[in-house]
């Protein structure tokens, strides 16, 4: 029963296949081609592609809004647009980028596509639930975008009460409802991953043979499951307060606005690691493949993923140092926030140790990975500034914070996303992209990113507050520099959209394993067949079983 099941019955049917299907490719992309077969699919790989297309759309919307913000800040006096327009632009940028791009980006696309392949399963544990979560995601995201069409929201992505419940006269309610709905999509995705990783591993695929990508997604899924319900509660309370005056946060109704911050950041600080951990997983796959070397300290990297996911639940109070919480609470949150640096540093050291003396190949994915490591280190170190109580008093709510979280969230997620996209593009599509263009885009993005966001560290340190449409004239030079960098960054983002789409039709056909990488996903064809593997994959003896590792072992013993 199970032997014939493993090839999905295709082999049995083929001799009697109808004329029209003979010669048709059997990979997941070409198995069926109707719209219906895409929108009602339960194949994790097709659902990943649905996500990829939709989050790319949201990325473009968020990026355009960022362009509007940088445009406004070219002049100090707010002459280009009204304060109101500016507020709405940065709110759309934040809401769309955080909720509809960064959080689902790597888990929903690469995670969906790769986790079953990497563990040798035929699909996720709950394929229909997986499709449902995409529809929930789209419903929530489009609901939020309705508010933009109607006239926009001006609360910022954090929806702080009582601004969002009592004072803002914009379309807060549809935005809130949309974000609440999207949360359920995260929960369902996380749940599916946890169950899949626990129950669907191929025989012999033990926990400590799992790729770090899978470990990272396991840790991320735990955050999805344990943090998202709390923000759902917070958003439900916000909706109840704004719509029905059931007061919980507004002091006028007997509520407490600080309560909202507690509930919000209890989710939203762990959410940073929803964005960063999957990126770390991607980097942990790319670096060994392009150094052709075993990942240094595999177990420590795995433990560090779980460690980060745990510590991140105890640091939300560092967002509230200046809101009047007790000194003791601030001290404790400050100390715990420093602890985040430990597992983060473990990962960075392990990547650099993997690169050390490796047979390096600086192809596009590796360029992105190295850019990622650089930006993540700078973002992480400035995080220590922010966790320090006294320094935080000076730079709280300034552009220093903006620069810091862009280094972490863009440097840490977008670069990993693009690196992973290039790394697995042959697997997703069966086509190779243009390597020279890929390298140009990776370098442009690294350059553009630093020109955009490094000046913001200085601006923030000099005292320019975030979220204002106007600023003192002496900050203009650095702001113009930042806006100029954003143009370079935009070009860097545009190139992959063009040459990757071009490669879909004109790219060279990809072999099963173009990078000579290890991992079960490279053992099946590119693109994979509908049921992932034509014969049950052979689980490797050790994870990241690269040849140099064997060489080193010989050197040590002989």
């Amino acid at each position: 029963m199970s032997a014939s099941g493993s090839v999905g019955g295709t082999a049995r049917r083929e001799p009697h296949a109808p004329e029209s299907t003979i010669g048709r490719k059997s990979d997941y992309l070409h198995a069926e081609s109707t719209l219906r077969s895409w929108f009602l699919t339960t194949d994790h790989k097709r659902i990943a592609i649905l996500y990829l297309a939709s989050i790319t759309g949201f990325f473009v919307i968020g990026a355009l809004a960022a362009g509007v913000v940088r445009l406004a800040l070219i002049v100090p006096n707010g002459a280009i647009m009204t304060n109101d327009t500016y507020n709405k632009a940065f709110t759309i940028h934040g809401v769309v980028m955080v909720w509809f791009f960064l959080i689902p980006s790597i888990p929903a696309t690469f995670g969906n596509f790769l986790i079953p392949l990497m563990i040798g399963a035929r699909d996720l544990a709950f394929p229909k639930l997986n499709l449902t979560s995409w529809y929930v995601f789209m419903a929530g995201a489009l609901f939020t975008l309705v508010s933009v069409v109607l006239g926009g929201v001006d609360t910022g992505w954090t929806f702080y009460a009582p601004l969002s419940t009592a004072f803002s006269n914009t379309w807060v309610l549809p935005a809130l409802i949309g974000v609440t709905i999207v949360g359920f999509s995260s929960i369902l995705t996380g749940l599916n991953f946890v169950v899949t990783i626990h129950t669907m591993r191929a025989p012999g695929m033990t926990w400590f043979k799992l790729p770090i990508f899978v470990w990272a997604h396991y840790a991320t899924s735990l955050i999805f499951l344990l943090a998202t319900p709390v923000i759902t509660t917070a958003l439900i309370l916000l909706i109840a307060e704004r719509a029905f005056h059931i007061g919980v946060f507004d002091p006028a109704y007997g509520g407490d606005p600080v309560l909202f911050q507690h509930l919000f950041w209890f989710y939203s600080h762990p959410a940073v690691y929803i964005m960063v951990l999957p990126g770390m997983g991607v980097i942990s796959e790319i670096v060994p493949a392009f150094a052709q070397k075993k990942l240094f300290g595999y177990r420590f990297v795995a433990y560090a993923s779980i460690g980060l996911a745990s510590v991140t639940f105890f640091v939300w109070g560092h967002h509230m140092f200046v809101n009047g919480q007790s000194d003791l609470a601030s001290l404790v949150f400050s100390a715990l926030s420093f602890a985040v640096a430990v597992p983060s540093a473990v990962k960075v050291y392990n990547w650099t140790a993997t690169i050390h003396k490796g047979a390096l190949r600086l192809d596009t994915p590796m360029l992105y990975a190295m850019g990622y490591i650089g930006l993540f280190v700078l973002g992480g170190l400035t995080g220590l500034y922010l966790a320090t109580l006294a320094i935080n008093q000076h730079i709280h709510a300034t552009y220093f914070v903006v620069a810091h979280f862009h280094y972490i969230m863009v440097g840490g997620t977008v670069l990993a996303f693009l690196g992973g996209l290039h790394f697995w593009w042959p697997k997703f599509t069966g086509r190779m992209y243009s390597e020279p263009w890929g390298r140009v885009s990776a370098l442009l993005i690294f350059l553009g990113f630093n020109v955009t966001f490094f000046p913001q560290f200085i601006l923030g340190y000099l005292g320019m507050p975030r979220r204002y449409a106007t600023y003192p004239a002496e900050f203009q030079l650095l702001n113009v520099l930042s806006s100029a960098g954003a143009t370079i960054l935009a070009a860097g983002y545009l190139f992959p959209m063009l040459y990757l789409v071009y490669s879909l039709w004109f790219g060279r056909k990809a072999p099963a394993n173009p990078w000579n990488a290890k991992g079960l996903e490279w053992e099946t064809s590119s693109p994979p067949p509908t049921h992932n593997f034509l014969s049950p994959p052979e689980v490797p003896r050790i994870p990241y079983d690269y040849p140099i590792q064997a060489q080193e072992a010989r050197d040590q013993h002989g």
Binding site: R122, L191, H245
Partner: protein
Amino acid sequence: MSEPLADGVGVARAHHFESVAQQREAATLGIWAWLITELLLFAALFLVALITRIQHPEATVAAAKHLKFWIGATNTVVLICSSLTMSMAIEFSRMGWQRAMVRAMLATAALGGLFLVLKGYEYYADWAEHMMPFLSDRPFALAETPAARLFVNLYYVATLLHALHLFTGITLLLGMTWMAARAGFLARHQNWIEVYGLYWHFIDLVWILAFPILYVVNR
């Protein structure tokens, strides 16, 4: 469990699972993971209610005393009884007694419905007592302190959220009863009953937490 029997009790293997045992394990782990998220959804509310009580004991106790204790207590009993009938339904499904299982499921749904009716009456009594601080056209009659208002508001959010879960649960249960009454259901989907049973017990459990936190503490 083994592969399904023609007319017996079992689970039909879905194409992407290697074995029925794996499928059962995935379903059980999945519902438990979901229940943890549901518990956290309520936990945030309960935690806020408890902290409000600790920080403002007099105002919250004064407000809590206006909650309809006997309706809450009766509803607790009603839900515990419904958990019993749901457990019976699961036992019957394991033994293959389809007709008894369907009856136990209908009894469960009926008890859930009774809870909602009693809860609705309680809301009506609250309304008559001017205990809804969010209604601007009906002045709030209880002690006019922020903490009392906050506590009463939390009571409405928590109980409405629970009622919403119960309503969803009853709808799902009736839909499933309709399917489960057909021949051959238990041979293919016996574990649906088990998985759903966990969800029902969870709804019961949340009320068993809500009742002391909202109605009983410091009474």
